[in-house]
Every structure is written in C-alpha cells, then in structure tokens.
Symmetry: D3
Subunit: 274 residues, 6 copies
C-alpha cells in the first residue's frame, strides 16, 4: 500500500533553463537505465518473494518507493528546464524559424506534453515493460538489480558531465549517491545468501552436462591454444569447478529440418507426385 | 568476421515431437532470457571495448559466436517438435476442429512460419533490441552478463522440468552446463578488474553527495528504527563506506511546475485577460 | 514523495487457485486498461500542472498512489492463483504431457517469472508508455481519465464474470467500486472547470476555419441527404455553434508529390538525360 | 467498403518548404494524437456495433473515412516541406557538412523514405495498434473519441503556432475546425445515450462494493481532513451516489506470496532438507 | 480522398461460429502478413510518387482502398465467430471453469474488445508501423509489394486449411484470388519499368566496389571450392555482371575501438595516472 | 555452428570523425533496412528449409554469416565517428552549452553506450523481430530477400551521398557492391525454382475464386472505364491467367455484427427489459 506527500524527496532547482538538457534527462525517466525501470522492477520482484525471505521483500519494496520519488524529481527537473519561451531559445540559438526551435530536442515534450516530462527515453522511444527483470529467483533478481544500479549510476554520471547548472549538478550528485548505496545494498544482499551461484543454485547440478560446464570453448577457426586467462585455468568463482580450455566446439549433429506438413504450403512450387 | 559450418554445435534430437514444447522453447530463442539477447549483447559490448582491454573483447566475441550456435540448436529443436501433422495432434489431444489444433500453441509458428522457429518469445512477442545491455562501461556490462546468464540458466532449468523427451533433456543439460560456465567466466572477469564498484569506478566519488551515499533510507510512514540488517550496518561491499540507517527521506523541495508557455494551450479554459 | 506499508490496500484471498484466471488478471496489471497505465498516467499529468491548479495536482497524485496499491493487489491475486503445482493441474485438465500444463496460459508467468505476476497484458504483450496520455492540457487529460476509468471498469466487470471464486469476486467488487468513484471524480473535476470544450479552450477559436467547424461531413459516394441526427442539427454541446450537414467533402487540391532530390535515388531506373 | 478519388479532401499548399516542420507534422500522422489513430479507432469501434445502434456505426464509419483523408493531406504536406535540396538547406542553416543537414530532423524521412512521410511520430517511433481504443462498449468508446479529438486538436493548435507558412496555417485551420466538430459530435452522441455512466452502465451496480464506490480515499500519511472539494462532497455526476471523504485506505490483508513450486527454482540457494 | 458505403466488399457468412478460428483470423488483420499492413503500405508508397509516375500512384491508391475493405471483411468474420455464448463453448470443449473458456484464445478479444476484432495479430501482439515498407524508390517498393502479397497469400491458404466452415472457405477463396491478382499486378508493374535492378538503378554503378559486386563470397572456415551453383557462375539476372566465386572474405582491417572520452566513464576502474 | 576471427571483413577507416554521420549509420545497423535484419532473416529462413532444398539452406546461412560481419564493420564505423571529444564538436558547431553538443545526434549513443554503436535505428527506435520475414515458403522468402537487399542498397546509396570522408565512402562502396551481388543472387535463386508464382505455388489454384483472381478492381466512385494499363489487359506474369478490368467492387454482404454476450457489458446503458 502506498502513500504520498506533496513534497519532493530532495530539492530540485534550475538556474538556467536548458531545453536540450530536458531532452537528456528523459533517459533517466523512461529509458533502459531509468527510474521507471527500477521502481517497477523492485515492486514486481517483491511481490514474488515468499514468506521465508520477507526481509528481502521489505528491502525491495522500500527501495521501490524511494525510486518513485526519483521519477518525480526528474519530471520536475524536466518542466523546469523546458518552460522557457521557445521564441527566446530560437532567437538565441537556432534562428528565426518557429519550427527550428525544436532542433535537437524531443518534439513530443512540446507537441504531446505541453513542455512536460514524458514516459519516454532521450530518443523519444516509449518506456516498455521489457526493461523489467523479475525472474522469481531472488539471486538472479539481485544480480539484475546490481546491473540496474550500475548502468543507472553510469547514466547519471554522464548527465552530470553535460550540465553546468548548479541546481542540476546538486540533484545529480544526490542521485549518484543513492545509486552508490543501492549498488552496495544489492551486493550485500547477495552476500547474505549462502552460495547463490550458479543461479539457480537449487537446480541439482549433477543433471547438467559434466563435460562442458567449466570449460572455455574457443570459437576460432583453428586451435590457437589455451591463452592462460583467469577464465581458462584455475578455480571457478562458484567454488564448484575448475576452469579448462576446449579448442573447438563439439560440433555434433546435423541441421536438418524435417519435411513440413504439405498444408503449410512451404514447398515453393507445385511438384508432381508430391 | 564470422564463419559458419553446416553442423550443429551439439546434437539435437527429439523422440516424441511435442508442439506445446515448441512454444515454450521460443522463450529461449527470442525472449528476454533468450540466446538472441546474449549473442547480440556480447557483440555490441565487444565493439565498444578499447585496445587496452582487448582480452575482454576477445572473450566477449568468442562467447557471442558460441551463442549464435545456441540459437541454431534451439531453432532446430523447434522445427523437430512442430513438424508432426497437426491433424494427428488434433485427433489425440484437442478434438476434431481444425482450428483448435492450435489451442495453447503460438499460432504464428504455423501461420507465419510454416511450422518453424521465429524471432519471438513464448508469448509471441517479438525480439527487441531493448533486451540488450551494452553500456560502454566494462564492469557494468559484466554485471549485465552475469544477470543474463543467471536468468538464462533459470529459464533452461524450467524448460528442463517441462519435457520428458530424452533428446530435449540432453540438449538442455548441455545448455545449462554452458550457462554455468558463462556465469562463472563473467564473475571471474569481474574479479580480474581492480575495484570495479561502485560502477562507474572512474567517476570521482567525492563529487557525489556524501550524506546519503551509504545510508539505507526508510520509506515507511513512521520511524520504525534500524532493523539491524547487513545493509543498514557494517562495511559496504565496495570497501569505501559504512552502511547506516536514515529513518526518513530528506523531503526537501516543492513540486511546482512553472507556468507553461501560453502557446502550448495547456491552460484548460479561455481565461479573460491572459 | 512516496511511502509504503507492508499491507495490502484491501484484502485479497483465493479459495481455488486457477492459473487460467491468473492469465486474465494480467490484463488488469499491464494491459491497455490496466492499473499500471492509470497509476503512471495520473503521475505524469500531475507533474505538468502549474501552481494555479494545485488542487488538481493533489487530486491526481493522491489517486495515483491509490492505483499503485491496486497493482499490488492484482499481483498478489496472480501469485495466489498460480502457485499450485502444475503437475496437479496437468493431471486434472490437460493430460499428462508436462509441456501441455501451460495450455491456454501465459508461459512466461512460469518460465520468466517463476509463477508470479509480470508487467505484461493477458496476451503477454509488454506494458508500454504508449498507453499513457498526459497532454499538458488539463481538460484533455481529464477526458483521458474518464476514458481510462470507463475502459478499466468495463475490464473489471468482464473479469468478474469469469470467476466463481468468492475471494476474487470480492476483490473485483472493490476495484469496480473504486472505478465508479474515479469515473465520477474526473467527470466532477471537468464540471468544475469553466467551459472546457472545445479542448484546448484557450486557443482563439476565430482562427479555425469557420465553414467546417460545426458541420457533419458525409463521406458517402453520393448525396444521401441530412439524416436529421442530433449531430447534424441543433446546438452543439460546447454552446458555441450550430450543427449542420454537408453532403460531400470539399475535395479541393491535388495529390502531387514534388520531385524528390535525385540523391535520394527515388527515381526507379537510370533515365538518360535526367 | 471503401472508395477513393485522386483529389485531396482540402487543398494543401506550402510556400516555403521547411524540413523542420516536416518533422513536427509526423506527430499528426503516426503519433499518439495522430490521424492514423482516429481513422483506425473509429473503424474498429464501428465493426463491433450491433444492429440496434446502427446510426452510431454509420457515424463512426463516415468519420473514419474522413480521417483517412486527413492522413493523406498531412502526408502531402510532409513531402512538400521535405523536397527541397538538402544542400541548400545545409548552406543556409547548418554549415557545410553533408551529414549535418539532418540536424534536428527525422533522418528516416530521408534515409528510409526518400523525402516522404512515414508511419511514425515526430520522435521517429513507429505507429502502434496500442494507441487504438475500441472496447466494445459504446459509451466507453465515445469517451475515448472525445479524448482523441481533444488531444488531437491540442496537437494541431501547437503545430499552428510553429509555422508562419500561409498554406500550412490554412491547412491546420481546417484540421482544427474538423477537430472542433468531431469533439462536439462525440459529446452529442454521448448525450443521446440514456444514462451512460458509470461505464459500463449495464453492469448491475449493486454487485460493486457499496462502501467505497462514491468516496474519495486520501493517500496522505496522516488524516488531513476533508478538503471540501466538489469531489469529496455533494451529488456525483452519474446521479447515483453522494461523494464522501475517507481519511485512509482500508489497508486490510497481508502481502504474502505463497511458496512457489520447487521446480521453478525460485528458491535462491540449495537448502538442505528441502 | 476516401468514401465508404455500408456494405461489405464481398459477402461474409459463418455457419458454425468458432472462437478458435477468430483467433487465427487476427493474423490476417493486424499481423505481419495482414491487411492493415498492405492498406497502409500502398498509401504511404503512393503519397511519395512524383507526377511522372502518376499511373503507379493511381494503381497503389486504388489497391489500398480495396485492402481497407478486406480489413472490414475480416473484422466482420471475427465478430461472427466470437459472438457465441462463451458458457456454451466452455461446456462443449473445455470444462466448467468460467476462466478456462479462453483456453487457447486471445483473451483480449473478450476482455478488451467485448467479442470483437482488434488491431493485433494472432499472438496478441499489436499492429506496428514497422511492418510497412515505403522506401521512396518505386522498384524497391514494388518488390516489397510482391513479397507482401506472397506472404499474405501464404497466410490465407494456411487459414483456408484450418476451417471447415463453408462461409469462411468462400471468403478465404475470394481473398486468395485477390492476392493472386495483386501478386501478378505488382510483378507486371515491375516489368513495365525499364531495367529496375539493381535497385536503386539510378545510382551510378561505377561508384560501387568493382571487385566484389558480382562474386559469391564463401564464409566457410576453409576453401571448399566453387560449388558450381547458378549464383556462382554465369550471367547475373540484372544483365550487368558475371557471377564468380570467392573462397574467402577479404578480411582486411582491425576491430579497434578508439579510446572513449574519459567523461563517458567507460573505463571500468579508477586507474592511477589517467 | 559459427566461428569468428578478430579481423574485420573489410577495412574501415575514418579520416574526419563526424558524430552526425554516426547517427545516420545507425539506420544500417538496427533499422528496418539494416544488417541486423538481413543477418537474422537469412538464419531463420535457413533453419526452416527441408533437406531437399539444402543448397538453398547453404546459400542462406553463408550469406547470413557475411552479414554478421557487416554489422561489425558498421559498429566500428560508429565508434570511429563518435569518439572525438564532444567539447570540441560543441565549440565548432553548436555553441558552448555542454548539453547542446548532442543537438541532432542520438543522445543514447553517448548516454547509454558511452560513444558506441547500439541496436537501434537512426531515430533511436530499437531493433525488432518484426522486421524479419521468414515464412517457411522458400519463394516468398526469396522475394523478401530481394526486397531486403533493394531497400538496403537504397539506404547505403543515400548514406554514401551524405559523407565526404574517403574511408566512409570506401566502406559504403563495398557494402553497396555486396548488396548488388545479394540482390542478384536472390533473383537468380528465384529463377532456379520452377514456376514459383503465385506464391505459394503448391496451393491448388482451382480452390481460389475464379471470377476475381486476374481482374483489376476499380475503387473509384464511378465507372471510369478500363485505363488500358499492362495490369488490366494481357497475360499475367505467372502465365496462368489473363488480366481484365472490373469497374466496381462486388459489394455483396452486410456489415452486421451479431449481438454480443450480455456479460461483456457491451450494451452502453442499462436498458429495461433487456
């Protein structure tokens, strides 16, 4: 169950409205690395967690609620950067054509949303549920979360480099800090599990093929020999095997599609006697 | 540069063709956890790697080539499960209506593809570039790869539980083994980097907000106190901070959208004097 | 800023788990008429509202928070309907093939999510930002909200007809009631605006074409005469015009694409002298 | 059944071709508020209308045919704005780089379509069936149509503000007028129904929860008291209830996902004794 | 400019309503091979045709109008197959669970559309502008149209095999015939062009690489010799070259991504001295 | 089974890095006409080919492997064009705002990918499996391939016109040449089939409607008479019919949707006695 208060989680100010930056900020709202992804991902993961892992459900839901507030901060940042008369911008930067005021912007921020934030990324592609990873397996989900915060923090640092506005720098400095915390909390949560890898750890590993489960398989045309890398020799990180080097793919088995049902009309021409 | 040979990477046999299983296998081809994702993800990551990390580029590209072969194995498995006369299936399982032969199947495997594999998932949703994570940051990408192999292996084990066919069990046993290896190789590759977290590690961390970068922030309505979890106390996994507990969100700042340009016609009614 | 408590907004119970119904419920989570749409739509609309309409922003945000709780209720309903051993279901309803246990289900609820809810609709298509309408114009947005609650309530009544489970009936009876309230609140909010139509009312209406702005234009092949319908005669609902009937489209103007730049290679063949 | 004539519905002229405006016009073709949406939406709605409402089917189909002509007008406007030598444009506005001629444009209008209109929006995102609302319930559909024309007219007025070309202003003045008419006709059609709300009105309303069907539910952290708004007090617009204020969400019921089937491998680690 | 009459292009009757077939028919409405694709594709192509090819524009637009009527016929076929009491169907085929009546169907045909046709394919994936090919080059477009009618006719023949209903067989027999005509008309239109290949024929062919423009390039690991196929020897179909066999890819050039800007934080860790 | 070598298929050099061109190149990677489409399309087609057409499977797979190498070349071209300090570009072309450095670019190439290539098109829309045509019918597939290479070559020639860089011109000259070859090889492969049209040729043509299978059907409002075009008179290209002209559509049959099930709540209001 959710509650909300008409206050931002952290102050958002803009000294010099910059419509170009409003475009870039969209990536952090509706993009692959954005806050809509993490807020919804953590919720769907939480709703799958059974009773015995309730402290994880709690951790996921509390963080989800925080991320909702980040979407709100970024949406506020977008309207504050956009709501400057476009005429003025046109005069300054792009000439006098009224249509060219949008040069290099996301036109839909004006045309579809009246100078507001949208559930799209910085290229104008809509947010999609495809970004959300919630596998039902807690260890897999936690790795997904580390990845989400890693790519999210990378995005935030890149945004940080593309603004000089003190308000925007301060907001991003806060969001980068939260990504640091979240990256660390998901790593810690992984460590708190016993032996989470290889995910899913509950699958009886003796049922997997025992010849190829810890060997690096070269796909070079010819045998180039073991390069002696950490992933071709030594103990595997899951502590359950020894890396080895295999010079080529097993290569057993023919690529033969069986004949299709004649009623699919796959046969290209009308062959007598078929 | 790529080469191919008309042989499968590993033998694929089907004793009892099962069109229902052909539907489930689609998830491992064109789905969020599927082989198209990893093959393409590893390629795009590799093409971004600069010279100084060339052994990583190599690792990524070689694995990408292997994954292409997995798509091929699964596509072969789909045609072998589908290409059995639908009439026969209809008689056995669903009655005599010719249209009901598709009950519970992906109709497009027959209607669009003539009993063949497609670049879609088990719900018939098309493969999308949105599944691919290639951030330019190697550590972030490696976490994405651990996640990809973790969710991919989870999918393969679930498929393993839903077939009794010895050929399909053997193929999946091989694919599960390769996912074990790949999960381990990406974890090993992460360990071979110095201090990869918090990603991106090259961002000067003193520029992030220092008050909230290692604190768990409660989003409960009232202060419930530090629950004493591993993520509210103790050293952080990146070795750069100490976890703490913050009972509520900072909550500074008003949600005030500035007035829009009148030319956006955001103002709902015709107000005199505006 | 958002908060959450580990309690559902309204109790959710399932007496007889029904995986088929878990499939149908997905429509109310991630579908075009679902709760993800309204929760996010109300947020994005709210973030665009300027200060002078702050009571509307408040109305939008409070309702958004309520809708987040509905997603949670429905996700809980899905796990409760799904988490019954598929073997058992297979035995009862579909035969003994382990793969056929998914007949008529969304395979990804099992394969991708381990018997959990997903951000997809009942056909397995992912939630998309394309469902969200937030135009910046408050009157237009309120009509979008009436529509959203109208189609949402229609969906909920159809779901109500497809379950006999008392717990599911009770949950849906609650959700239908909330849709009744929300439909009414958005209609009331529209009435509280002065002259909201034609949207956007702030556009100077004398700039629109005055010949065709209140006339019904027939697209029949021949003049069939004024049918005397409420939309071809009498006062228009916006109180600003009189309906009339026009027997055919103006039809002025040629469809002539100018010649393209030769460098686009649009000209199909290599014509001498061009 | 459809017919067409090689004439535009209304004349389209362009005095000063402007490739930037050609980008913005795409929103009115393939965008969320565009003409492809309404043309197809009205068709699909019409095809669902049963005999007893045949005058509505007629209204929907005739309007659909008109909207097809609007797509044609806009596509003509796009080619007329685009088909100006890009070199010339480059010289004027963007410098001498041949690639920079596309700055701020939709590159696919040139690269994919040879200076022509496309079924995409002004951000280049493809038209999608997700924009179409056709619920089977006539009242719900009519609200969807009011919304469609409201957001469509808002888009057209914003486009009107971003061109100085007399031909484009005239075309948009016509399209705005038609949106005025269509908004009014759908409102009139709603009024011609008896008691259409709450949609669907044919659902027996006594089956919905009677405690929460006309009450505004606060989602604030604490009881802030009835704000005395039109939607917390007084008669509801559907004439079937009285608004009231509820200070908090019912909050009954635990968020407990049942334990998953072990064969989904949701349990993160290999626990002895399971 | 478009017109419509309230009559179908060709009669559509259904003797035995079959909801399963209503699912399959969706592929011919909103699918990759469906009528929405061709109707819209021919329109967008037509709007790009310059004056000198006006007989082609005419051919495209007239066929587009016909295809709109095919969507209408198929939508009518869907409602006629769906609108049979689901209870009855449940009794007959799937048991007594009200939710299982949808087994193997597209639930959204009922839940979202009230037993009507939708702009989606037979897997429930939405129609998308991505299916539409309109390149601006007439020859390329005509090949796209041959392909569209070829895959469309293949779909129609597969549908024909999956119904026993005389009305449906008659409708499909008509649609298959029209696809025969359309395939032939596009082939004829291609022949009416002088030398359309290689598309685009207006590109000065001497500017393409002259070493590799008519040679089959083997991608086998080793030189397997010229297989003597029609595409490795003899005249090329465009009459402008001679096929030859090249045993391996040129293989020149290193895959070296230049070092990224440090501000992208691509470098995974904090390296001293950078 | 696939192999790879760390060498490009053909050398890729860039003399003057041009981030604008990096945007345009994306169309050739992840766009509708791009190399991801053809590489994957040829693979899926190949996996459906039965034994008797194994030389076609071979042709398809070898070409697929070549196309994978083209994606790699283009991705390399993108990083070489992008990895120039954006500050420098900003100074030269767009002013001093750090955010405006992206004007006219795809922001995600920097924000999401750290100055690298992405699986998206030049508008930033993600690659999708919807672009892939693999019908199971070999003749239909070969027409799809001719179309793919025709639109692909058209794209490449347009890109060629928008760069002055000698390295880029050389790379594109090579890719255009390969498209020439591939267009020709698919046409040749079609000729090598006996009587491939009308696709699917194996459908017994006497089952299609014999009245309308070779007649051009006018959709004009009135009978305009046979225009005497090659597609209204004479032999059809498939050699199986004679073109004729039909002045109007058959027009038989009413558009009557049957009454829906009352439980769908399609009836808009609560009508007494229903």
């Amino acid at each position: 169950m959710f509650f909300q208060e008409p206050e931002l989680q952290y102050e958002v100010t803009v000294e010099e409205p910059d419509p170009h930056f409003a475009k870039l900020l969209q990536q952090a709202i509706g993009g692959q690395e954005g806050e809509m992804r993490v807020a919804l991902q953590y919720m769907f993961q939480a709703w799958a967690v059974p009773e015995e892992y309730s402290e994880y459900r709690d951790l996921l839901m509390q963080t989800a609620a925080e991320e909702l507030g980040h979407i709100e901060m970024l949406a506020t940042a977008v309207t504050k950067n956009l709501r400057k008369a476009p005429e003025e911008l046109g005069d300054e930067q792009q000439g006098t054509d009224p249509s060219s005021a949008y040069t290099g912007q996301i036109p839909r921020q004006i045309l579809s949303a009246g100078q507001s934030a949208m559930p799209v990324d910085s290229d104008g592609a809509p947010f999609t549920g495809n970004y959300i990873v919630a596998s039902g397996n807690l260890a897999g989900d936690l790795f997904a979360n580390v990845m989400a915060e890693a790519t999210g923090r990378t995005l935030a640092t890149r945004l940080y480099e593309h603004t000089d506005d003190p308000g925007m720098k301060d907001m991003l400095s806060y969001l980068i800090a939260r990504d640091t915390m979240h990256q660390n909390q998901w790593l810690e949560a992984l460590e708190a599990l016993d032996d989470p890898v290889p995910v899913p750890a509950s699958f009886p590993q003796e049922q997997e093929n025992q010849e190829y489960n810890y060997s690096f398989m070269s796909t070079r045309r010819e045998d180039v020999g073991d390069p002696g890398m950490p992933w071709t020799q030594g103990d595997s990180p899951d502590g359950k095997g020894q890396f080895s080097f295999v010079p080529e793919q097993p290569g057993d088995g023919e690529v033969i599609a069986p004949p299709p049902d004649p009623k699919t009309y796959d046969v290209p021409e009308d062959v007598d006697g078929q």
